[in-house]
């Protein structure tokens, strides 16, 4: 190959923490000219934050970045763009009701003023047209409204924007950051996108993040793998295969004690089925069916966007949800209309993913949050809440779940994430549930509270509660579940038993996820 080249972007010892929580540290990364690199890793490994640091959206807490031989310290995204770094956002960052050329030069209009402070749109259009032609996107009319183009064309427009602005700011070789560009498009569009990226490579470098490992293999020249906020591997074109990538991504030791695997309840076909799901479909979810038995923890794993969350929404009636198929709780089929209240009436509890907006009400007290689903139990006269009964109920659960709070009247917003999550659990336990649906129950919860929550889930199963666990955390999925379903692209691709003595490994499951 060429003589020893110098990287155009060098990152050394970068670290980032938010409010004391480290997202990544000790990250070294090089980007060479005309190169497509990938950053792989599990959810929460720190790859998206790394990308945002390069794009100037997050400032590194430690470490240095050097771009084209000069120190690179962008304060905001615009600085990055001026220096030649652009990002194609997961949710597209084009304004749909503006014209294509207006999107290209959005927030840079001041460079196009003519006499009287008016915007010289003629020059903008001319420039836009020339670049689109050079990039082989001659079919895109810069005067057309951006929203009238298909998703794929809009993505091309976003990439073109990177080139237009780089040229405009006199950067010869831009760096384009792609954050899950294929998350929302079909196979045909993916092929088109990749073809274009390869074509543009002689003029730019690309950094790719994607959930589909195969895409790294097809597209990238070099690959970095992150795990738990650290760079754990760097692979050249020759040595990566999907199996090797996910081996590097996962492979942690699981502490059986932590997940209370010893107390996992043995569930047999003799135990009654409490929740039965048949043929759930809708959106991109296809034909998901399973039974959940008394005392069982059934885990559903899969990458973000595989459809596992939609399944949970369909069960508890959290709109919008896939509307085909049936959900039966203790023999009673839940209706399609008003399924939410019906599920609650059938003793189904739901611990949602977004704790602060879906689980608790931060501005209400611990007591008010605890009684929220069981207001009928704390009344003295019909319809009138008894403060004494409500406080007593809250105290009972504060004690039972070890909620660290100053008392029932403390506002929930002042509790830590783990204690807020315990209040969400308390809300359902106060009502009394037979089926509990959990969506990432330990997301943003500290290690100690996690263990307490795991202990609580085991206690619940011992009392006959059936638990459906949906989680992005593989170790949690394996450690807690009696049985595991893995979903991919809206379908259940495998079902694995997970008894304490024969738990599947992360590698085995990841193989089905990607």
């Amino acid at each position: 190959m060429n003589a020893p080249r110098k990287p155009i972007l060098e990152i050394r010892g970068a670290a980032k923490s938010f409010a004391g929580v480290t997202v990544f540290e000790g990250v070294d990364l090089d980007i060479y000219a005309n190169e497509i690199i990938g950053i792989a890793g599990e959810n929460g490994a720190g790859k998206s934050t790394t990308l945002k640091m390069i794009a100037g959206i997050h400032k590194p807490s430690k470490g240095t970045m050097t771009l084209f031989g000069k120190p690179y310290n962008p304060d905001r995204y615009t600085d990055a763009v001026r220096a030649g770094v652009s990002m194609v956002f997961q949710e597209q960052a084009l304004v749909p009701n503006l014209r294509v050329y207006e999107n290209f030069f959005l927030s840079h209009e001041s460079k196009f003023t003519r006499a009287g402070g008016l915007v010289d749109s003629g020059r903008m259009i001319e420039l836009a047209e020339r670049h689109l032609r050079e990039l082989g996107l001659g079919h895109v009319d810069p005067r057309r409204v951006t929203g009238s183009y298909e998703f794929h064309d809009r993505q091309m427009i976003e990439i073109a924007k990177a080139f237009v602005l780089a040229d405009f700011f006199k950067v010869e070789h831009p760096i384009v950051l792609l954050d899950e560009p294929t998350a929302a498009i079909g196979d045909k569009e993916v092929a088109l996108l990749f073809e274009s990226i390869r074509r543009f490579r002689d003029r730019a470098s690309f950094v790719l993040i994607t959930h589909r490992l195969a895409e790294y293999v097809t597209l990238c020249d070099r690959l970095y793998v992150m795990k738990d906020g650290r760079m754990v591997a760097e692979m050249g074109k020759g040595d990566f295969a999907t199996s090797r990538i996910h081996e590097a991504m996962v492979g942690r030791a699981r502490d059986e004690e932590y997940y209370k695997e010893g107390t996992q309840k043995a569930v047999t076909a003799a135990d009654p089925v409490l929740l039965s799901v048949k043929g759930i479909a809708g959106g991109h979810v296809q034909d998901v069916s399973f039974d959940l038995r008394q005392g069982e923890i059934l885990g559903i794993g899969g990458l973000v966007g595989c459809g596992k969350e939609e399944v949970a929404r369909a069960i508890v009636g959290f709109e919008p949800f896939p509307t085909s198929g049936t959900v039966t709780v203790k023999g009673q089929q839940l209706p399609l209309r008003k399924r939410g209240p019906a599920a609650i009436a059938a003793s189904v509890g739901f611990v949602p993913k977004e704790r602060k907006t879906e689980g608790i009400i931060p501005y209400l007290s611990v007591a008010a949050n605890t009684s929220l689903a069981a207001l009928g139990k704390v009344t003295r006269l019909p319809g009138i809440i008894s403060a004494a009964k409500e406080n007593a109920l809250a105290r009972e659960f504060i004690k039972l779940l070890h909620v660290r709070t100053t008392g029932p009247r403390q506002l929930c917003q002042f509790l830590s994430g783990g204690n807020q999550q315990k209040v969400v659990m308390a809300k359902w336990l106060a009502r009394g549930v037979d089926v509990l649906v959990l969506d990432n129950p330990t997301r943003g919860v500290d290690v100690g509270a996690k263990e307490e929550i795991y202990g609580l889930l085991r206690d619940l199963t011992a009392r006959g509660v059936a638990i459906l666990l949906i989680t992005d955390d593989l170790l949690e999925l394996i450690g807690l579940s009696n049985r595991i379903l893995i979903m991919r692209d809206g379908k259940v691709v495998t079902e694995r038993p997970a008894p304490p003595e024969a738990k599947p490994t992360e590698q085995e499951l990841v193989g089905f996820m990607v």
Binding site: V316, F318, G340, P341, I344, A345, F350, P352, E354, T357, E358, G359, I360, I361, P362, Y363, L364, A368, L372, A373, L375, G376, T379, G383, I384, I385, A387, T405, T406, Q410, L411, Q413, F414, L415, S416, K427
Partner: protein
């Protein structure tokens, strides 16, 4: 951090009560110095009569604001009910009792329309009630033909200005009684709790089994009915229905609610606190009158003081959520 946060919340709550109370004391002292008749029994009963209508309207609208919505049609409902009642009493030969029922029903219907627009047609409350404000206002001018409607009815006059207990004006008595019930419902009932829950976290409330649409409907209907009662009191006191007679109540009621410490974003404050804001505004208007300030200047001063009071009492930590 948790402890500091808790004490901050406590301070905030203390401030919320203390500032309007201090403001009220300040106003009373100032007006007494300006004119010693201000603290006379005659004037205090007068103040009670004047504040009763605002108290009813503000109490009703607190329910709506608590759940994070807004009802801009309250002033128009007052006018509509007042004028319709005046017309019925003048022309139809119906008695005071029937007119009271019809008036309350009109208020309830207005509330139902607002609620249906917000809950079922999913029009944002601001836009929905801004539109119904215009419609209700238009209807009231239309039915009265744009003219003042004067009637004579001894029962109605007694209802507002009669004295059931001692020298206390009846309108004040009714308003206080209704306020007391509303404050209790707001603070202690499941319905009241649902309002707070919806205002502070609608998705969580829904996922926890709170019947959000029904609660929203009821809140708008309560607001409509209390506005109707206010309109009936208003027209009973003056025996004349005039176009736009309730319009000023919109801003005054919202200002009173905010001064009382209920967040415009919903979920914080309470019906019981609204009386503080009502007192501040009523004392101000009454005091300026007693002090002999020119009526037009009064309007300016009232507006300015409302701005100052709201600036002092508004909880900015929650402003980001204002809908």
């Amino acid at each position: 951090m948790a402890a500091a946060g808790a004490s901050y919340a406590r301070n905030r709550a203390m401030m919320g009560v203390l500032v309007p109370v201090l403001f009220l004391v300040l106003l009373v002292v100032a007006f007494t110095l300006l004119n010693d008749r201000f603290l006379s029994w005659v004037n205090l009963f007068n103040l009670m009569r004047q504040s009763s209508i605002l108290l009813l309207v503000a109490t009703g609208t607190t329910f709506v604001i608590l759940m994070g919505a807004i009802d801009l049609s309250i002033g128009s409902i007052v006018t509509l009910v007042a004028i319709t009642a005046a017309l019925l009493l003048r022309d139809s030969g119906l008695g005071a009792a029937e007119v009271l029922l019809i008036g309350a029903a009109i208020g309830a219907a207005c509330g139902l329309i607002n609620g249906a627009l917000v809950v079922y047609a999913r029009v944002p409350a601001f836009v929905a009630t801004l539109s119904t404000m215009i419609v209700f206002g238009g209807v009231s001018t239309w039915v009265a033909g744009g003219a003042n409607v004067t009637f004579r009815n001894a029962d109605m006059t007694w209802l507002a200005s009669g004295k059931l207990i001692g020298q206390i004006p009846n309108s004040g008595l009714w308003a206080l009684a209704i306020f007391a019930v509303a404050a209790f419902v707001g603070a202690r009932s499941i319905f009241g709790r649902a309002l707070y829950a919806i205002g502070a976290g609608e998705t969580t409330a829904r996922l926890s089994g709170i019947n959000v649409p029904r609660t929203q409907m009821v809140a708008f209907v309560v607001s409509g009915v209390l506005c109707a009662l206010a309109g009936l009191m208003l027209v009973a006191r003056t025996s004349t229905g005039t176009a736009r007679m309730g319009d000023d109540l919109l801003l005054e009621a919202i200002a009173a609610v905010v001064m009382g410490g209920t967040a415009l974003s919903g979920g914080a404050g309470g019906v019981h606190r609204t009386i503080l804001g009502v007192l501040v505004i009523s004392v101000l208007k009454n005091g300026l009158n007693v002090a002999g300030v020119h009526p037009y200047v009064q309007i300016c001063i009232t507006g300015l003081i409302v701005i100052i009071a709201v600036t002092l009492t508004l909880d900015r930590s929650r402003l980001a959520f204002v809908k």
